[in-house]
Subunit: 407 residues, 2 copies
Amino acid sequence: MASAGRAGVGTNQEDIRRHNLGTVLGHVHRSERLSRAELTARMGLNRSTIAGLVTELESLGLAEQAKPSGARIGAGRPSVDVKARSGAYVLAVDLRVDGLTVARVGLGGIIQSRATGPVPQGHDPHAITDSVLDLMRLVVKDVEPGSALVGVGVGVPGIIRAEDGLVRLAPNLSWRDVPFAQILGERLGSIGMPVLGNDADLGALAEHLRGAGVGVEDLVYLSGEVGVGAGVIVSGHKLEGAGGYAGEIGHMPFLPDGKLCHCGAHGCWETEIGAEAIALAIGCPAERVGALGEFLEGVHEASPDLRQVGRHLGRGIAGIVNMLNPRVIVLGGYLRSLSPLVQEDVDQEIAVHALTASHELVRVTLPGLGGDSVLHGAAELAFEPLLADPVGRLATACRDAEAALAV
Amino acid sequence: MASAGRAGVGTNQEDIRRHNLGTVLGHVHRSERLSRAELTARMGLNRSTIAGLVTELESLGLAEQAKPSGARIGAGRPSVDVKARSGAYVLAVDLRVDGLTVARVGLGGIIQSRATGPVPQGHDPHAITDSVLDLMRLVVKDVEPGSALVGVGVGVPGIIRAEDGLVRLAPNLSWRDVPFAQILGERLGSIGMPVLGNDADLGALAEHLRGAGVGVEDLVYLSGEVGVGAGVIVSGHKLEGAGGYAGEIGHMPFLPDGKLCHCGAHGCWETEIGAEAIALAIGCPAERVGALGEFLEGVHEASPDLRQVGRHLGRGIAGIVNMLNPRVIVLGGYLRSLSPLVQEDVDQEIAVHALTASHELVRVTLPGLGGDSVLHGAAELAFEPLLADPVGRLATACRDAEAALAV
């Protein structure tokens, strides 16, 4: 409150400018192409201020101005177009029980390079870290020289403590209180600490920003992997809960004397619709559950057992509709391949169990980002510090990831 | 944007003053007693502005200033205390399937008078309206002359469309798309239209403002009546959903081939823990479910059947913990009487089915407002226009409710 006058004012103005710079970058990052006139309108700042901010982003290598596109705003000169440039990128990691994907993602959410590999058996966090680093080395090859690595985001199928990236529980990895952010961060060295997010939360974030839920304020992303989780967006904000652990829909009690779940309880919803249940229903051998996606691609007609899985899926979705009254439910992970096969059963169960008022408002849909929702969400998480303060983040960014990862 | 200069400025200042007046009144309304110094600190306005606002509230009959209480703020003179006065009141209605309560509630959430009666058989909305009006006539007798009736709030066990108070569905009243706000509003005449809210939402609101959840940002109020619903507060805000229908936890699928629910589906949670299930477990005859509360008071040891209801309650609560990660879960309605009888079973099921990270953050508790949570919530809903603009609301308030209700 009692900071020295001039310095105080100077800092505040500089703070505002940095904040505005980040906001402009955010708009550019989330739109494929945007005119300076649109930016001016969205931000409520005057044209010369916007022109100055865009020029600064250009000099930072984060944006470029292009010839006007066809559309004109009003009667005047056509406005200059602004789009993201690849002067900054992040590394996004999608850690699934059955596979590992790492991508180099540029501003604008562009996947520049990707690599996938198996998850080491036993799910040892150090062994997984080794694999993540191997994949990272692959995707940072051929990065534009001098381009800034501004963050690492990791999607994990578990419950994450936000402040330090401790994985409280990832039942299907058999992890309890594993400090994965710290383990990976130690190996990343000068690249800095990674940010971890729950896979379903990241799927929801990405589908909300660039997928099937753009402009939708109430959205549920159902992540159907070995386990089943939900990322929930409510009135435009992530549903966090008291500790950030909300959304563990896979562990809703579903069958009183159902199968044993990896969490230790019996009859959780995911024991009836998760990968193991699907595998059993289509005769995929247990040791090949990791390739369940491929197996499902080869199924063209649902067996009675698979239709039963579909009915369980629909009945659970109806519960989500009744509880959360969302506008959109996105079926991610294996549910993408499963749902077209059993759509009739799913729809019928939803119709029976969902209350009309909520049912008539909801749309159940496939992800707009295909199988990459979680990966894109991890990238968005990693981009957040850059969008909060582009100049500050760039100042400490890693400019030679290949060297940093060679250690 | 282009309003005339002076008038524009004048209006804005007046708007700000009215808004501040409402904010002061809100603080006074929510605290039993508050010093002017505390008000000054909470609102960040200067002392003379606060003194002026309090004096205006006093002249409106909404607040009174009292001798300083013992506690001093700082070293100066003790600050003057401010508390609510009964110059304005609301009528709050708690419409349950098994009974009707109407209360006259003054500022500060003080129940000045209450009356209860049965709900007409058949649940005809016009007949219920007649009963509501009869009870209202009882509670407005002996109201302080000139005191302003500033709103009517009604808690309904159903799904309400916020904009017009249409009851989309109240399964246990057999109501579908009943325009109850309009039906009641026509009879209220000069008193004005009532505001309807879902009973569980109102319970959550009241427990958050004055009950077991004061200061808690993530709270679930479970309303156990004939049906079971949840009012959910997330990060301090009501969980609405796309149409305001969120929280229908009673219709979570719970037993695949369970009993037929009033909603038309089978196996909803409320068929296992609602009033009918409890009545069956304690041998309360079906025709006396309306007096289930009294029956439960007479039970001192849980039968095996009742313990089974307790296990179902605990298992469902675990699902809520996993899905929403709340800090507090308040057990309202019949669950107040039930839960002490079966606490061990409830706790055990929660421990088995709730994920540790979320379980260790949650507290399951009885309502701070006893059986009046919904009634208080209905009153809070009715007070909202007064707290938004005290002068404007008082200008059109009904000053003689007895006469208005005599029509």
